[in-house]
Every structure is written in C-alpha cells, then in structure tokens.
Symmetry: C2
Subunit: 296 residues, 2 copies
C-alpha cells in the first residue's frame, strides 16, 4: 500500500552484524555445553551530533529502528526531516563499554529537532519512565480506519505464517518478534531483545516505504501493553494480534481508540478483547479448537 | 540478615488496590466469555513536589516500588534520605488519564535530590533509554561476596518454591515475578506488569528492612538482561536465577562482576551461564532430568 510518496527520503546505511552468538554453559549434570544466545548491542544515537539515547538492540535493522524511534517518540514528525542515518557497529563490537553509533543528520540541522529532545526523551520505557503521560493526551486525535476488518480465516493464516517463520527466537530464545501483515501476507518481520525496539523498527520501515497502516495488521509475540497498543494506533494499524495477553491499560487504550486487540492467538484459539466489530467470525473454522486458559 | 540498621526509616503508606480485574471477551467461537487480566495503573511520582516519572504498575506494593526505583536510579544513595512516601490511588482508579500519585518527601528538601533528576531520569527503560551508559561506568565498583555459593539441592528447592507460589500470573498471566531467597527460604515475592518494577520493589523492600544481598539469591521469571543483572549486582546479590534465558549484555555484565547467572531453570534442568564456581553441583540429583532446548 503506497500512499503520499515522499521524495525526501533519508539515506540509510545497512549496518549488519551477527544476530546470535554461541556461548559456553554448564548444565545440571555439571557438563560443559554450548547454546546460542541472541546478540545484544548498545547503540548510542546522536541527533545532529547531540547524544540522544542509548538503545539496547539485537541489531537486525538498526537504521529502521532509529528512524522508528524518532517517529514514535515524536522527535520528528515525518521521515522527510531526516537527511541520513549512519550506523557504525565497529566501535562497539565485543566491547561492553563501547556502544555502536547511530549518527542522524536532520535536514534542518540541530536547531529544530534538538529543541524537543530534553522534554521528550525522559519518557521512554517498558513500565517505567513511560511514554504514557504524553501519549494519552494525543490518543483522542488518532483516527483509525473505521471499516477495517479481519476475518477468522485470515487471522488463522496470519498466526500460521508466524509459526512457520524462521526466527532468532527458535534458535536462541529471549527475543520478541513483531510483524506487519496485509491480510495473510507478511510484509515485514523483525525481532529484537526489546519489543519496543521491534515495533519501532516496523514504524521506521513503514515510513521509509510509504506504507500506510490503515489496512494492515500488527502482530507481536509480546503482551498487548498500553505502549504496544498506542504504537500500533500511532502507525494507523487498527488491528493488533498477540500470542500473549493484554494488560488493563492496553485494553483501555484499545477500547478508547477503537483498535481491535486479539490475544492468546495460538493455533485455532484466540480472544478478542476490544472492537469486536472488526472481526468477522467464521466459527466453523474453530470447531476443533479447545479452550484452556493460556498464560504468557 | 540485618546489617547496619538505620534508625532513619521513611514513613510509608500501605496503599492497596485490586491486582486483577475480570473483563469481557469474545472467543474464537464468537461466544462472549470472561477472563481475568492483571491490573495496570499509572503512578506519577513526585519528588519533593516535582514530577519525576510515571510508572505503569500492577500496584502490589507501590511504596516499595517507588523507594527501590529511587535507589536503583541512584536518585538517592540511602533510604535515610527519604522522610515519607505517600501513595494515593484514589485519583487514578478506573480513569485512564488520571494516574495515582506517589508523593516523596526527602529529609533534605528539594535542593538535594532534585538536582540529580534531570540527568538521571532520561535513562530508564527496557531496551530503550537504557540505564546502560551510566551503569556500566559503575559496574567495576561493585564487589559481590566472593565466597557466596549455592548448591544444586537448594537451587531445586528454590525453583520448586516458585512453582508452588500462588500468583497473579497463574490467575491472569501477563505479569513478571521476582523473588528474593535466602537458601531455599523465599523472603519476598512480587509481581508486576514490568519486571523492572518487580526488581525495584525488591530493592525497596530490602532497604526498608536492612536486608543485605550478599547471602541471597535473586529469582526472576523474565530474561536475564543486562539491566536485571546490574540491578541484582547493585543489590549485592551474587546469584541470579531465571526461568528464561540470558542476553549477551546480561552475560557480559554477569561475567564482569562475577555474578552467577543461572537460566532455563525449570524442574531439574538449568544452565549455568557465568561464575560457575558459585554453584556446587550435585549431579546425582539431576539424573532424571532431560535436556531439550528450552525457549522463553
């Protein structure tokens, strides 16, 4: 879905790095063994040479991550404000105290984007230092496409596509995955050590590719917290699906913006938490499903 | 374990609130149903009347949470700096835009604690806006008790105690649990919607009760990320156990400070990731264990 193509796209590097690493462990028999763990890198972000934040990331797509972070933190209003994002891991590889560097150059220079920094960056996080305060004020301005719906067959196809996806999670565990779907077609899949990074990476990818959210479905392996629901809504995506559950604030935000939140989605089972009018039930497809209480 | 008792303890309220809430859902057959979800509340923290941060929390122990947050963010150096912490949920109950309030009064007044605020609060979070930068500088100052060890029988007893614990997770899912053990004795157990909140609550509880970490074991249901390992080390707890895995930075921090990180701990299985000299193997206890690759 291309909409309002923007000729002013930033130049992005394509910094790449290994996503898993083999380590030595000792098992319960006292025997040495090996397992793979996900990589985790510190990436210090500089906005027009001013240090902004350090993100801990798997490193799968650092440029899109940084772009999405700027957008979701509302440090920039559009991708056109950025001239380039240059990521260099070489400083940081293997040395804990030496993060990689993401240098962002804005078209306007530091005067414009820098002025918002101090007030905004305070409020990032996962349950702490939440973006909640600022974002709640803006929720009511969000208009999700009123007619966007998903049918049960498509939901099942989407859950199955996630199941088949080759992932760092399968080889190493300990990462969160997010995906963007149009119908049952997976447009993008990304994993990160933090799920906020994963959804920000999707936001950055959407902005770079002029992808509108109004006819898309957002999938996350993690819980539907308020921040995940808000970010989905900010991206204009009216339907969010999770393997896990929902938190109270996540539910309240979803109800308030009319976002269809679907959780506990595994195999043929799911629960619709909000905006049920967006879901077209085909209950005959569910007939062999069982309904135990699932936890995440 | 009492050490250096401090007569200057803050006065804490004991604000309590429901930890779960029943909600209406629609299942995959299109049938209305009910499930319980964990509560999630916004708690805006004021330090000497200055707004500091908004935490999203389950609300199980908000005063200890706030105290531990201040300590772990190094906004205060000791519990003696705080005169009182007053939590009032009544403003926030049920209304998304109206957080509860935690009012902290320092003994010194705003001049002392307030001055550190701006620089420190920027760096909170879960993979984003990390405390990493500041904390890495301080890691090398941490001295964990060199002789602290755990034997395999105690580790198994600890994992079993967690299994038997009645939890919000069991009834509602979607929360992280943390616990503090002395040997196989569970001294404290707390759950929250964010695992950083859970570990901060433990830190606050330890500070209020003059509990030293040097002979304790920290347990978390979540991954051993760098921030969880750093917080365990900051509390002086030399052994950290998780049901989940470890991330690369978590491992590097654990190795650097000599913290024994034990992951994938379920039933009789576990992997020791670091400081294996702290673990006393009793392999005969593991004989019926199997060793599939576990994911979290």
């Amino acid at each position: 879905m291309l909409s309002s193509p923007n000729p002013l796209k930033p130049r992005l590097t394509q910094a790449r790095a290994e996503l898993t690493r083999q380590i030595d462990v000792v098992n319960e028999f006292g025997q040495p063994s090996h397992v793979h763990i996900p990589a985790e890198r510190a990436l210090t972000v500089y906005l027009d040479k001013r240090e902004l934040v350090t993100l801990m990331t798997l490193g799968a797509s650092p440029e899109h991550l940084v772009l999405g972070f700027l957008l979701n933190q509302r440090l920039i209003q559009s991708v056109g404000e950025i001239e380039s994002i240059t990521v260099d891991w070489t400083l940081g590889e293997g040395e804990m105290g030496q993060p990689g560097v993401a240098a962002i150059k804005t078209r306007a220079g530091q005067s414009q984007a820098g002025s918002k920094t101090a007030a905004r960056v305070v409020t990032t996080g996962c349950g702490q230092g939440s973006v909640f305060g600022d974002l709640v004020n803006d929720i009511d301005a969000i208009q999700l496409a009123p007619t966007a719906r998903i049918d049960q067959a498509t939901l099942y196809a989407l859950v199955n596509a996630i199941r088949l996806q080759e992932t760092t999670y399968k080889s190493s565990g300990s990462v969160h995955g997010c995906a963007l779907f149009k119908g049952a077609e997976m447009l993008m899949f990304v994993e990160d050590v933090g799920r906020h990074n994963a959804v920000d990476t999707i936001a950055g990818w959407m902005a770079m590719n002029d992808v509108s959210g109004h006819d898309k479905v957002f999938y996350t392996t993690g819980r539907l917290t308020s921040e995940m629901v808000i970010k989905s809504a900010q991206m204009g995506v009216p339907i969010a699906v999770s393997r896990s559950g929902i938190t109270q604030m996540g539910l309240e935000v979803a109800q308030r913006v009319g976002l269809c939140a679907i959780g506990r989605a595994t195999h043929k089972r799911f629960l619709c938490f909000s905006a049920a009018h967006r879901l077209i039930w085909q209950a005959e497809l569910a007939e062999h499903a069982t309904r135990p209480i699932a936890h995440d």
